[in-house]
C-alpha cells in the first residue's frame, strides 16, 4: 500500500503510465547507439502528441492518429539528422533549438483543438479476462500501447545483442571512420537510426494524447517527459532493458506521489509532483559511483561479459555526439 493505492492498482497504473515513456526512451536509445544525440525529444513529444490528436480527431481514426504522430516525430528526426550528419553542426545545439521550436509550434497549431473531445485508445480486456482473479484483472486490463512497449523491449534487446544489423549500428556509434573503412556507410546508418528513433518518439507522443492523457491542451501533460527520456537512456546505460526499468521506476515515483499525498498531508501536492524528476536525475550520480569512475575503468574486462555483466555495465557509445566527417 502506498498511501491509499492497493498494490494491483499501483502496478496497473505504473504499467499504463510507463508505456509511452518506454517507447520514447527506447527510440532515443536506438538513435544514441548510432552515435547521434537527439536532444529535441521534449518538444518532439508534444509536437507529435498534437499532430496525433488533431489527425485522429479529423479522420476519427486512432490508427491514422498514431501514424501521424510517428511521422511528425520522423520529420523532426529528419532535421536533426540532416543538420548533424550532413551539415556537421553541433547536435546538442540543433536538438535544443528544435526542442523549443517544436514545443511552441505544437501549442500554436494545436490551439484550436485544445480541450476538445477526440478518439481515445481504450484499455482492452484480455480474452480470458473473466477467468482471472480480480487483482490480475486490474493489472492486465491495459491499452495496447502497454503490450507494444513490452514487446519493443524484447525486440530491442535481441536486435542489439544478436543481430548483425545491430552490431553494425553499434560499430558506427563506436567508431564511424572504422566502420566506413569496413565498407559500411555510417551516414546512412546513422540517418536510419535517427529516423527510426524519432518515429518511435513520435509514437510515444501519440500514446500520450490518444491514450494516457487523452486530448490536447496547453499544458498537455507530456511536458518534461522528453528530458526524462533522455536521462533514462543514460540511466539505462544504453541498454534497452535497463532503460525500460528506469522508465517504470519513474512512472512508479510519479504515481505513488499521488498516494503519498495523504500520508504526508503537511507537504503540498506540488512537491510530490516535482520529486520524480530530480530523483531520476540523481540516480545518475549514484549510478556513476556504483559503476566506478568511468574515466578510470575504460573498457569492460572479461567478467562483464554475459547477460548480467552487460546489464550492469554502462558506457556511452564512443562517438556519441561527435559528428563524423567523411574524408
Amino acid at each position: 500500500m502506498i498511501g491509499d493505492l492497493s498494490i494491483p492498482v499501483l502496478i496497473a497504473s505504473v504499467l499504463t503510465a510507463s508505456a509511452p515513456l518506454i517507447i520514447i526512451a527506447l527510440g532515443e536509445t536506438l538513435t544514441e547507439k548510432s552515435g547521434v544525440i537527439n536532444l529535441s525529444l521534449d518538444g518532439v513529444v508534444l509536437f507529435s502528441a498534437m499532430a496525433a490528436f488533431v489527425i485522429a480527431r479529423q479522420t476519427d481514426s486512432l490508427l491514422l492518429g498514431f501514424l501521424a504522430g510517428g511521422c511528425a516525430g520522423m520529420f523532426t528526426g529528419l532535421i536533426v539528422g540532416y543538420f548533424s550528419i550532413y551539415l556537421h553542426l553541433t547536435q546538442v545545439a540543433v536538438g535544443f533549438a528544435l526542442s523549443l521550436l517544436c514545443r511552441d509550434l505544437a501549442y500554436f497549431l494545436g490551439n484550436p483543438y485544445s480541450r476538445v473531445q477526440g478518439p481515445t485508445l481504450l484499455a482492452t480486456k484480455l480474452p480470458f479476462y473473466d477467468s482471472l482473479p480480480n487483482s490480475l484483472q486490474v493489472v492486465l486490463t491495459q491499452p495496447p500501447t502497454v503490450w507494444i512497449a513490452l514487446l519493443l523491449i524484447f525486440l530491442f534487446y535481441c536486435f542489439f545483442s544478436f543481430s548483425k544489423a545491430g552490431l553494425s549500428l553499434r560499430s558506427v556509434g563506436e567508431n564511424p571512420a572504422a566502420s566506413f573503412a569496413r565498407g559500411l556507410n555510417p551516414g546512412r546508418i546513422q540517418m536510419t537510426a535517427v529516423l527510426a528513433g524519432a518515429f518511435l518518439v513520435g509514437l510515444g507522443g501519440a500514446a500520450y494524447s490518444l491514450s494516457l492523457k487523452p486530448g490536447w491542451g496547453r499544458p498537455q501533460g507530456a511536458e518534461g517527459i522528453g528530458w526524462i527520456a533522455l536521462a533514462l537512456v543514460i540511466f539505462g546505460g544504453w541498454h534497452p532493458i535497463r532503460v525500460a526499468l528506469g522508465a517504470m521506476l519513474f512512472a512508479f515515483l510519479q504515481v505513488s506521489g499521488i498516494g503519498l499525498q495523504n500520508l504526508f498531508p503537511g507537504v503540498p501536492a506540488q512537491v510530490f509532483q516535482t520529486a520524480p524528476f530530480p530523483l531520476m536525475i540523481f540516480t545518475l550520480v549514484l549510478m556513476h559511483f556504483s559503476t566506478g569512475n568511468t574515466r578510470k575503468q575504460d573498457y569492460s574486462e572479461n567478467k562483464t561479459q554475459g547477460f548480467a555483466g552487460k546489464l550492469f555495465l554502462s558506457r556511452a557509445p564512443k562517438a556519441l555526439g561527435k559528428n563524423y566527417k567523411q574524408e
Partner: protein, 347 residues
C-alpha cells in the same frame, strides 16, 4: 575565414542575414497560412505590441534585462563547452535567496535590505551553478542532466516555500508569496514598467563580461579549457577549477536576473519566477554565435517578440506561442546557414 577581406565579410554577413530572415518569415508565414490566420496582421500586431507606446517599449526592456543577464552568464559556460541548461534553476535560486534576504527582520533601511538581497541573489545563483558544476566534475553527470535535475529541484523548492513556510496569510496560492512593501519595489520612471536600476545592472554586466572574456587571461584560459582540457593541465590551468568558476559566474548572473524579477517585475516570489528566460537566453546566445557584440541586439529582438506576441490572442485569437516558433526558427536557420557555409569552405 581569416583569408577574407573585411568588406567581403560584411557583404557575406549581410547576405546571410537577408537569407535567414527570408527563411524565417517564409516559415512563419506558412505556419500562419496553415492555421488560416491573417499573416500580415499577425506580424503587424507583434510589431505594434512591442513598439506602439513607451509603456510597451519599457515592457520590452523589462524582458530584455533578465534575458541579457542570463545570456552574458552563458557566454562564460559556453567558452568552456558547458551546456548550462541549469540556468533556469539558477534564476529561481537567485530569486529565492533575494526573497529570503528581504524577509530578514530587523533591518530598517529599504536600501540596505535591497542591497543585501542583491548580494544574496548572486550567492544563490552562484551556488546553484556550482552544484551543477560539481555534479559534472565530481559526480560525472553530464551538465545538461545535472542542470535539468537542479531546475526541477529549484522548481519544487520554490513551490514548497510558496505553499509552505512563505505562504500568504490565509490561503496559499499559485499567485505566490505576499506582495512586498512598496518601499522594496525598485523604482520605475513614471509611466514606465521597467526599473532603472535593472537597466544599469544589465549594462554594467555586459561591459564587465566583455572585459573579462576579451581582455583578461580568464577569457583565454576558459577558451583553452573548452577546447582541450587535457592540454590545459600542461599550461598550469586546472580544467575542473575553470569549469566550476565559469558555471558559478553564470549562476550569479542568472541569480541577478532572479533578483530583478522579484524586486522589479513581480514584487513577490511566484512559482514561475524564471519565466523561461534561461532557455530563451540559450537560444539568444546560440543565435549570436557566442559573440557578445551581437547579444544586446538579439536579446532585444527576442524580448520584443515575447512582448509583442501577447497581442495575438487579444486581437487575433491566436496563441502567443508564435513568438517561440519564430525564435526557435531563427536559431535553426542561423545554424543551417552556418552549416552550408562550412560545407562550401571544405569543398
Amino acid at each position: 575565414m581569416k583569408n577574407l577581406s573585411g568588406a567581403k565579410l560584411t557583404e557575406r554577413a549581410a547576405f546571410d542575414i537577408l537569407l535567414g530572415s527570408i527563411l524565417v518569415l517564409g516559415f512563419t508565414a506558412l505556419i500562419l497560412f496553415i492555421t488560416g490566420a491573417p499573416v500580415l496582421a499577425a506580424f503587424q500586431n507583434i510589431w505594434l505590441g512591442a513598439f506602439a507606446s513607451t509603456t510597451k517599449m519599457s515592457q520590452v526592456l523589462s524582458v530584455w534585462i533578465p534575458l541579457i543577464l542570463c545570456a552574458c552568464g552563458l557566454l562564460y559556460t559556453f567558452k568552456v563547452n558547458l551546456w548550462n541548461i541549469g540556468i533556469e534553476g539558477q534564476i529561481i535560486m537567485g530569486a529565492i535567496f533575494a526573497m529570503a534576504a528581504l524577509r530578514v527582520p530587523g533591518i530598517e533601511s529599504p536600501l540596505l535590505r535591497l542591497f543585501l538581497a542583491f548580494l544574496t541573489s548572486l550567492l544563490g545563483g552562484g551556488i546553484w551553478g556550482l552544484l551543477a558544476g560539481l555534479l559534472k566534475t565530481r559526480g560525472g553527470v553530464h551538465e545538461i542532466f545535472g542542470g535539468l535535475g537542479l531546475n526541477f529541484v529549484a522548481q519544487g523548492f520554490v513551490l514548497w516555500l510558496i505553499f509552505g513556510p512563505w505562504k500568504r496569510p490565509g490561503i496559499a496560492s499559485m499567485s505566490g508569496t505576499e506582495l512586498l512593501g512598496r518601499e522594496l519595489w525598485l523604482s520605475t520612471p513614471p509611466g514606465w514598467r521597467m526599473a532603472t536600476a535593472g537597466l544599469i545592472i544589465a549594462i554594467s554586466v555586459i561591459i564587465i563580461t566583455w572585459l573579462l572574456l576579451e581582455k583578461s587571461h580568464l577569457g583565454l584560459n576558459l577558451r583553452a579549457v573548452g577546447q582541450n582540457p587535457r592540454a590545459a593541465l600542461l599550461y598550469r590551468i586546472s580544467p575542473e577549477n575553470y569549469y566550476l568558476q565559469s558555471i558559478s559566474i553564470a549562476g550569479a548572473c542568472a541569480g541577478l536576473a532572479g533578483f530583478l524579477q522579484v524586486t522589479a517585475v513581480y514584487h513577490r516570489l511566484i512559482p514561475s519566477i524564471s519565466s523561461g528566460y534561461g532557455y530563451l537566453a540559450l537560444l539568444v546566445v546560440l543565435l549570436a554565435g557566442y559573440r557578445i557584440m551581437l547579444l544586446p541586439f538579439l536579446a532585444l529582438f527576442f524580448a520584443s517578440l515575447n512582448v509583442g506576441a501577447v497581442q495575438l490572442p487579444i486581437v487575433l485569437q491566436l496563441d502567443s506561442s508564435l513568438s517561440g516558433v519564430i525564435q526557435g526558427c531563427c536559431v535553426l536557420c542561423a545554424l543551417f546557414i552556418l552549416g552550408i557555409r562550412q560545407r562550401r569552405r571544405q569543398s
